[in-house]
């Protein structure tokens, strides 16, 4: 199976992606079942789901590009447009709302100089107001890519952003 996949397709994903893809296909009675996690893993490597990536995955799973796009539009984590290297996702749902989630979002807007769903000019950060991320008891909470940051204050938020900036 691995050989077939590699011989047929040109799009370059990491070896880890390919191994996981082949392993996942064996877990389900239909190929299509791997679609949602596969799209997210692909996006983790390519930053966003470009027409090439969509076409590649559609071919692999014997779907049309349109069927794949139809699925992408349903899931809030999947995107067809590039985000910043670090996607700052601020929760403002009820548990975070009453503990300063909106103030945190406003603070990030000012600090980064971008609006909701915007990206900084250097491509470093993008900002997104998100729905409940499952950190209610540790509100207000933010996810930067997949990392949780909880019990935040505006001061702590600044430190978090600085830590990501310093990684480069």
């Amino acid at each position: 199976m691995a050989l077939v996949v590699k011989a047929f397709f040109s799009m370059k994903f990491s070896e880890q992606f390919e191994n996981r893809f082949v392993r996942m296909l064996a877990h389900y009675p239909t190929k299509r079942s791997v679609l949602v996690p596969t799209l997210l893993y692909a996006q983790d490597e390519t930053g966003y789901l470009s027409p090439e990536v969509i076409h590649e995955i559609a071919e692999r799973l014997e779907l049309t590009d349109l069927e794949v796009e139809n699925v992408i539009s349903y899931y809030s984590m999947l995107t067809k447009t590039p985000r910043g290297k670090y996607n700052v996702q601020v929760c403002t749902n009820i548990a975070c709302l009453v503990r300063g989630g909106e103030e945190l979002l406003d603070h990030c807007k000012h600090k980064l100089g971008i609006r909701n769903k915007g990206t900084t000019a250097d491509g470093m950060f993008s900002l997104e107001e998100v729905e409940c991320i499952g950190a209610c008891s540790w509100a207000p909470a933010v996810q930067v890519n997949y990392d949780f940051h909880e019990n935040l204050t505006t001061e702590r938020m600044d430190e978090v952003l600085d830590e990501y900036r310093a990684k480069n």
Partner: protein
């Protein structure tokens, strides 16, 4: 990693291995792990189902249906393979408990899935984890690999001749997928559009095969029931509400956190004693008792036992165990608006009452909060919400309508205080969109 809390009133069953390194399979086995599976392998399937039924375990995802009864609906004979599907798409605002179970005790979930498989005669189980919980996938993968290596899952489980495979599956951000039929659609690689029922998943589920769908906490409770017995588990709670629950305390509380308390624990005590009361000398205004889809309770309505039946009697729901307390500085119009904004965002648009209802309600509430409300809108909000109830394929429409109806009914004066250009009396800025 989320921090743990504790309180003397806690009865630790599902959380008993939290913080004890039980992600490691050796440690899990030292802490009685996989002993329930060994016991279950020697039981008849019907005996397992009866044990779970008699324990009074009810679905911890929110619906509160008797778990053993749900399992008994799966046909004994089936031409198509049967499946166990563990619902870890935890997305109900206020709820953050399944995340802790995966993080601290992943093997308990796996063990529960295998026992459920034994009970209904399934040979594969899928553990669906919401996409945002990426760090948990690594924990789950390691746990599953360990369970295979030790023979707790896979071919010939512990030499019994019984085969059972366990897989995890990641989502990609969708609240509605927590609804069982939408969950199956998502696992099959589609948009999470709910299916019409009947047929129910127990008869026609994943890829057309009979499927048991249970919440993470429900399945993690199962090994404890097999080990401790139905009677012991049932006695932990109140009649028909067996066991304990992970209550996620959040909002305006001094000691928010996830606490495991017996079913039927008094809500007032939960807020003032376990949760440490309301900070800054303020007063409690309202409580969301079990996640954002539940009708709110006012501060006068909280002297009641937290179990499914008592909450239903009080006109609300125990839901998913997500308790959000809000103090008297909170604008309830704004609170209603934020809830509606969420449901409008999450509505898949498949059914018109939900798609149009959530959109119009959000618009109306937004206008209201920004000072453009007119008196007849108060009744319009009620009218729109009531007309969504029971008229949609999945409960998302109800989930949007129920809290809204309760807020307008119980806090009508706050809506009146917002009328005709008056600024919000709570001086909050507008919800940004």
């Amino acid at each position: 990693m989320a921090s743990l809390v504790s309180h003397p009133d806690e009865v630790k069953v599902v959380s008993k291995r939290f913080g004890m390194g039980a992600t490691n399979i050796d440690r899990y086995c030292e802490l009685d792990g996989y002993t329930a599976l060994q016991k279950a392998l020697e039981m008849q399937p019907d005996a397992i189902i009866n044990e779970v039924k008699n324990s009074g375990l009810r679905g911890r995802g929110g619906a509160g249906f008797n778990t053993g009864l749900k399992w008994s609906f799966v046909p004994k004979q089936s031409a198509k393979p049967k499946y166990i599907l563990c619902n870890g798409d935890e997305s109900e605002p206020g709820t953050c408990k399944d995340r802790l179970i995966f993080e601290h005790d992943p093997h308990a979930v796996i063990e529960g899935v295998v026992i459920a498989g034994l009970a209904v005669g399934a040979h594969a189980g899928y553990i669906y984890v919401r996409g945002e919980y990426r760090y948990l996938l690594e924990i789950m993968q390691k746990a599953i690999d360990g369970a295979y290596a030790r023979g707790f899952v896979g071919k010939n489980v512990l030499g019994s001749g019984y085969n059972f495979d366990v897989y995890w599956h990641g989502g990609a951000g969708a609240y509605e997928v927590g609804e069982e039929s939408a969950l199956m659609e998502s696992l099959e690689g589609k948009r999470g559009i709910p299916r019409i029922r009947p047929p129910f998943p127990a008869v026609v589920g994943l890829w057309g095969g009979p499927t048991v769908i249970n919440n993470v906490e429900t399945l993690a409770s199962v090994p404890h029931i097999i080990n401790g017995g139905a009677e012991w588990f049932a006695k932990l709670g109140t009649p028909k509400n067996g066991g304990t629950r992970l209550f996620c305390l959040s909002g305006h509380l001094n000691r928010p956190g996830v606490y495991e308390l017996p079913m039927g624990y008094n809500l007032k005590k939960m807020i003032y004693d376990v949760g440490g009361g309301i900070p800054n000398g303020r007063k409690l205004k309202a409580v969301v008792p079990g996640g954002s889809s539940c009708p709110l309770l006012t501060a006068d309505e909280i002297d009641l036992p937290m179990d499914f039946d008592s909450l239903a009697k009080a006109g609300s729901m125990l839901g998913s165990g997500g308790l959000v307390a809000v103090d008297d500085t909170t604008c309830m119009v704004k609170f209603a608006l934020r809830i509606m904004k969420f449901y409008r965002h999450e509505s898949c648009g498949w059914c018109i009452p939900c798609r149009e209802g959530t959109d119009w309600l959000e618009k109306t509430l937004k206008r209201f909060h920004s000072g453009g409300g007119i008196e007849k809108d108060i009744d319009n909000i009620q009218y729109l919400s009531e007309n969504m109830l029971g008229r949609t394929f999945c409960p998302l429409g109800d989930a949007a309508a129920l809290p809204t109806i309760s807020i307008v009914k119980k806090f009508r004066k706050e809506f009146e205080d917002h009328l005709e250009g008056r600024p919000c009396p709570f001086e909050e800025h507008l919800v940004s969109v």
